[in-house]
Each structure stands twice: as structure tokens, then as C-alpha cells.
């Protein structure tokens, strides 16, 4: 087990003994999507993924990847392959005909009124 008393020597030789090879297929564990909750009652927000062999380990890793800084009270993990998605080929379903500004927030010309009000308050 012990190659040298100096950890730096062990570290340096690791590369020599195991030259870096390109990743083989299935070299990685599957991915889990991670959802993080800042405080109780908040919605869980998607924050990224972790690689893990099972849900326990995914939670273990997710806690350190996404919960070690800032506030956290809860984490969910879901297997990526269990997530249903739309197809990128169908991304045109999100497009909408431009002549419908009346149903978009931008269609309401309120900024003029807001600015006018702000001015009147200041004055």
C-alpha cells in the first residue's frame, strides 16, 4: 500500500502508473437530476445533475455539489431517464404568432403611466 512516505511522491507517480485513457462507453454512472429547496415551502429548483449508481449515492453527492453553500433545507434527486421531455424537433410549438401582443405583458403600455406616477410622487 505504501509507496513512499512523502505523499507528493505517491501523487506524482499515479499518472505514470495509470496513463490517462479516453473514457470507455458506460464508464460513467447514470445521471440524476437534482432539485434544491432553499427554505421550507419554497419550490424545489432544478440546479443540475450528479452521476451516481443509485438514489442514495445521488443524494449523498447532491448534498455536497449543490447544498454546501448558502441555504438549503431539502434536496430531491430523480433519474434523468425517468424525466419525460418534449422533443427539440418540436420546439416550434413554443413559437407564437406575433400579432397577439394583446395577450402578452409587453402588449400593455403601462411604463408611460408608471413613469408619470413616479415623477408625480417625486415632485
Amino acid at each position: 500500500m505504501i509507496k513512499s512516505l512523502d505523499p507528493r511522491v505517491n501523487r506524482a507517480s499515479i499518472e505514470l502508473e495509470n496513463p490517462i485513457e479516453p473514457l470507455k462507453e458506460m464508464d460513467q454512472w447514470e445521471t440524476f437530476e437534482v432539485f434544491h429547496q432553499k427554505k421550507r415551502g419554497d419550490q424545489h429548483m432544478h440546479v443540475g445533475i450528479v452521476h451516481a449508481p443509485n438514489a442514495d449515492m445521488a443524494l449523498l453527492f447532491a448534498k455536497e455539489q449543490y447544498g454546501r453553500r448558502g441555504l438549503s433545507v431539502n434536496i430531491w434527486v430523480v433519474k434523468t431517464r425517468d424525466v419525460f421531455t418534449t422533443d427539440y424537433d418540436d420546439s416550434d410549438i413554443f413559437e407564437t404568432v406575433p400579432e397577439k401582443q394583446y395577450r402578452e405583458a409587453g402588449g400593455y403600455k403601462v411604463m408611460d403611466k408608471i413613469n408619470k406616477y413616479k415623477k408625480s410622487v417625486k415632485a
Binding site: 500500500m1 505504501i2 505523499p7 455536497e64 454546501r68
Partner: protein, 251 residues
């Protein structure tokens, strides 16, 4: 409260945490996968932080500045058990050591949360969450690898056999056991050992791993009184390399 007894307790705890924190940090960048690398490194940083909190308590009791105590001592002045100074070896050994040590560490702080020495009780309550995660991490890995396949099982059992007598050395009784117990500072190493064995046994059982037979137990003592393996000195030298360039530098 007997200050000498309390200091001895603080020194061994702080040194255990500093040395295992440094050892575990040697895996940074070399962990088996990215996520585990980050987790293990993050826990190593937790350990250093915990040791720093204890060095602060020592400073309040009249010892030198935390940085001086951590980085200006020679190996023979360290009070850590020998388990934590052993080289990392393969990941199986590092995980097994992490499992054996962190169970003891969590229980030690749990007992100290009720210590009559309030500053220490406060630290113990503060690190509770960190330790809970460390033990959760250790349990998850040990149980999975112990029962995954033949190779992982064989490796984990070998790591357990190799670490066992050193792990028993965590509980090396000090000259001040009676003092600490009588003044309500700490319930003592024997009480800690009993709880430790109770906690690790079911986890090892779940992992399909066997504790070496009791008639082979030979606790490796000496670490608490400055008797160390040849592995500690190079570690201390590397750890204090930057500090020693200019001990008066402000960080």
C-alpha cells in the same frame, strides 16, 4: 475543571481532525469520480474547520495562536491517534478509516454536547450537522462497497482488518480519564468505545463485513503521547511548508 486534563482532551481531538483532514485532502483531484472528489474534499475542509475551533479553545486556555499550534510543532508533539496519520493507500482504506474514525468523532462530539465545559459543548452542538453528513457518507459507501461484488467486498474486508487495531487506538485512555469524568467534562474513552462498537456493528453487518475476532485485538496506542509512525513527519512537513516560509505573514 482541571485545565491540564481539558487541554489534553482538546489537543488530541484537534490533532486527530487536523491530521485526518489533511490526509483526506490529499485525495483532492484524485477521487474516483468528480462528485465523490468534491464531497470528500469538502468533508476534509470541515475537519480542518473543526480542528480550528478546538485550537481556538486551547488558545483561550492559554495555549499559543491556532496557526502556531497547528503548523509550528514537530511530529512528536502531536497527540493524534496513529490511525489518522497512516498513508491514504487505496480508496478502500481511506473510506474504511473515514468510517471508523467519523463514527467515533460523531459520538465524541455527541457526548461533549453535554459537557460541563460550556465552550466545548457549544462547538459540539455547532458541528452536529457536519458530522451527521460525514457518517451518512461513510455508512453509504461502506455498506454499498461491502456488498457490491467480490472484489469490493474483499477490498473492504482487507481494509477493515488493516485499520482495526489502529482504530482501537482512537480510544487510548489518557492519564486524566478520572478527572474528566468526575468534573463532567467528558464521559471518557471507555464509554466512547462502547458506544462506537454499538454503532458500527450493525453497519458492518449490513455491509457483510466482519470485525476481526476479539482475541486478535491489539490496540495501537502511543499516538496520544506523541509516539507516531514514520508517516506523520512528512505529512507535518508538507502541511506546514507554506506557513514556515514566513510564520509572521498575515493571511
Amino acid at each position: 475543571m482541571n485545565n491540564t486534563a481539558t487541554k489534553e482532551l482538546l489537543y488530541k481531538m484537534a490533532d486527530d481532525l487536523l491530521i485526518i483532514g489533511h490526509r483526506n485532502s490529499e485525495w483532492t483531484g484524485l477521487g474516483p469520480i468528480l462528485e465523490e472528489d468534491i464531497s470528500f474534499s469538502s468533508m476534509a475542509q470541515d475537519k480542518i474547520g473543526q480542528s480550528q475551533a478546538l485550537f481556538h479553545l486551547l488558545h483561550e486556555l492559554g495555549e499559543q495562536e491556532p496557526d502556531t499550534v497547528a503548523f509550528a510543532r514537530g511530529a512528536a508533539q502531536f497527540h493524534n491517534c496513529q490511525l489518522v496519520e497512516l498513508p491514504n493507500g487505496e480508496y478502500d482504506f481511506s473510506l474504511m478509516r473515514h468510517f471508523l474514525f467519523d463514527h467515533a468523532d460523531q459520538l465524541r462530539f455527541e457526548l461533549l454536547a453535554n459537557s460541563s465545559y460550556e465552550p466545548l459543548a457549544k462547538v459540539a452542538r455547532k458541528v452536529k450537522g457536519e458530522l451527521k453528513y460525514h457518517v451518512f457518507h461513510a455508512n453509504t459507501w461502506v455498506v454499498k462497497l461491502g456488498s457490491a461484488n467480490e472484489e469490493s467486498h474483499t477490498r473492504m474486508q482487507a481494509a477493515l482488518n488493516q485499520a482495526w487495531n489502529y482504530a482501537l487506538g482512537i480510544f487510548e485512555p489518557s492519564a486524566y480519564e478520572e478527572d474528566l469524568i468526575n468534573t463532567g467534562v467528558f464521559e471518557g474513552e471507555q464509554a466512547l468505545f462502547d458506544r462506537w462498537l454499538t454503532n458500527i456493528t450493525p453497519q458492518l453487518l449490513k455491509a457483510g463485513l466482519s470485525i476481526p475476532p476479539q482475541d486478535t485485538w491489539e490496540p495501537v496506542y502511543g499516538g496520544r503521547v506523541g509516539k507516531h509512525t514514520a508517516h506523520l513527519e512528512p505529512l507535518v512537513e508538507e502541511m506546514s511548508e507554506v506557513f514556515k516560509i514566513d510564520p509572521s505573514a498575515e493571511w
